[in-house]
């Protein structure tokens, strides 16, 4: 782990690698985040609307509940779990394949700090880009909820918008972003460790990939509880 966070051998190469990881881990995840967030927001809004059968509860609650659910839990946690599957398996299998095909040995022999060269840019890219993805997810989740409400005639557009503006605490966004950063770090380091430490062949790469996703997901759930207890 200490090797990962050493000063990069060459800044220019690190920068180049960082750009590649922004693309691989961040930009390439925009599509899946967009689809899941929109539908997630829509489902939350529909379920909330159907569960409000008391006439004393204003329909603005649909927007309010959707906003709270999306910002506090769905965007940071569910999207991080999705990214653990997509990005975590990619990292574990990429590094694992490099290990079994001796590419990591080749880096070591050249005098390159392989852990730093391969893992550090991924950590930085995920820690910077995942919060961007989560903010994007929050907006799309709320938009998905609005779209569902007006499409199915559940709540008027005005009520929904009033709802998402009601009792807004900016701290909830801060809390969500802190969680996202911790989850991003966990996804990359756990998956990279699984890939980096394998020995064997293609079967072991598959196992490392699975372990990377499973352990990342478990730690996300665990740290979700710890951070929620600490921050809220």
């Amino acid at each position: 782990m200490l090797q990962v966070f050493r000063k990069p051998d060459k800044g220019k190469m690190f920068g180049k690698q960082l750009m590649v990881e922004f693309q691989n881990l961040g930009v390439d995840s925009i599509g899946i985040v967009a689809v899941i967030s929109t539908f997630m927001g829509a489902v939350v809004a529909i379920q909330t609307a159907y569960n409000i059968d008391n006439p004393f509860i204003p329909m603005t609650m649909v927007g309010f509940t959707t906003r709270q659910s999306v910002i506090l839990e769905f965007a940071p946690t569910v999207i991080s779990l999705i990214l653990a599957g997509k990005v975590g398996s990619r990292i574990a299998s990429e590094i694992g394949t490099m290990r079994v095909t001796e590419q990591i040995d080749a880096l070591q022999i050249m005098g390159v700090n392989s852990a730093n060269f391969l893992v550090f840019p991924k950590v930085i890219a995920a820690v910077i880009f995942n919060p961007i993805l989560v903010i994007f997810s929050m907006f799309l989740g709320l938009a998905g909820g609005w779209l569902a409400c007006i499409s199915f005639g559940l709540v008027s557009s005005a009520d929904y918008i009033i709802g998402i503006q009601s009792w807004f605490e900016p701290y909830t966004v801060f809390y969500a972003l802190i969680k996202t950063i911790v989850f991003a770090y966990l996804i990359v380091t756990i998956s990279a460790y699984q890939g980096y430490s394998i020995s064997g062949g293609s079967l072991d790469v598959g196992n490392a990939s699975t372990k990377g996703v499973v352990y990342s997901s478990i730690f996300i759930i665990l740290f979700n509880l710890i951070l929620t207890q600490l921050l809220l």
Binding site: D9, K10, K12, M13, T97, M98, T101, E102, Q103, D105, A106, Q108, I109, M110, G111, V112
Partner: protein, 247 residues
């Protein structure tokens, strides 16, 4: 030159190398030969510093590897080129990027200077003009040649080749052997080749160490290897029908 002094290495209870001492000469192709599982690859990985030895020492031109600081070890590693059994090319980089990688990491040369060196290395391995190909587009022999080009890009003092002919047809294997031998003599490198290919032994074996069950069993060269009266070595050398008949 590289000196291996009383090297021993174990993995758990299993001792792989026992008290191996050998002098790898400069400007010569030094061969480590032996059956599969004899400990050749472990010895090579100890020599390049991928494995730490349990006992003994390795000296690179008199510099004791185990006693060096992290920075100095790193410096020595930049003097090493290595050709891996499978090539170990970075599969997300083109041929040009693969060869340019060590130059980008450890020199301050401009792109033009690096490209000039890349083209020189490619020409040296008879692959001029193949810069844009990806490793997946290369044949087995081409992968080995690109790996050699990458290994020599930083003009190393020491060249290690782990089973350079594995998976190649005899003709291509011969080309790779010639290439390794030419490069060794042209650049006066200390080259160490790990092999169990008898054609390589007889073609480029200027200084040979025969390893058997983790021990140094015999030393000599491509001429003396045919006349050796060591039974274990003879069984290894004359294992094929062709060599038996020749004998």
């Amino acid at each position: 030159m590289i000196d291996a002094k009383n090297i021993s290495k174990s993995f758990g209870d299993q001792q792989i190398l026992r008290n191996i001492s050998f002098h790898f000469e400069e400007g010569k192709t030094n061969l480590i030969i032996g059956q599969s599982g004899s400990g050749k690859t472990v010895l090579m990985k100890c020599l390049v510093g991928l494995y730490d030895v349990d006992e003994g020492d390795i000296e690179y031109d008199g510099r004791s590897y185990s006693k060096l600081s992290f920075k100095k070890k790193k410096k020595i590693r930049q003097e090493i080129g290595m050709l891996f059994q499978g090539g170990a090319l970075f599969d997300y980089m083109t041929v040009e990027e693969n060869i340019m990688f060590p130059l980008s990491m450890f020199t301050r040369e401009s792109y033009e200077e690096k490209l000039k060196r890349v083209n020189f290395c490619l020409e040296r391995v008879n692959l001029e003009g193949q810069n844009a190909l990806m490793p997946s587009e290369l044949s087995g022999g081409m992968i080995k040649r690109v790996a050699i080009a990458r290994a020599i890009s930083l003009n190393p003092k020491y060249l290690f080749c782990d089973e350079p002919n594995s998976g190649l047809d005899p003709q291509t294997a011969g080309v790779i052997d010639e290439l390794i031998s030419e490069i060794t003599h042209d650049f006066n490198m200390t080259t160490i080749v790990n092999t169990h290919d008898m054609n390589s032994v007889l073609k480029i074996g200027e200084n040979i160490a025969f390893i058997n069950q983790g021990e140094l069993w015999w030393t000599g060269n491509k001429i003396s290897v045919l006349k050796a009266d060591n039974t274990v070595l003879n069984d290894f050398i004359f294992a094929t029908e062709l060599t038996k008949r020749l004998k």
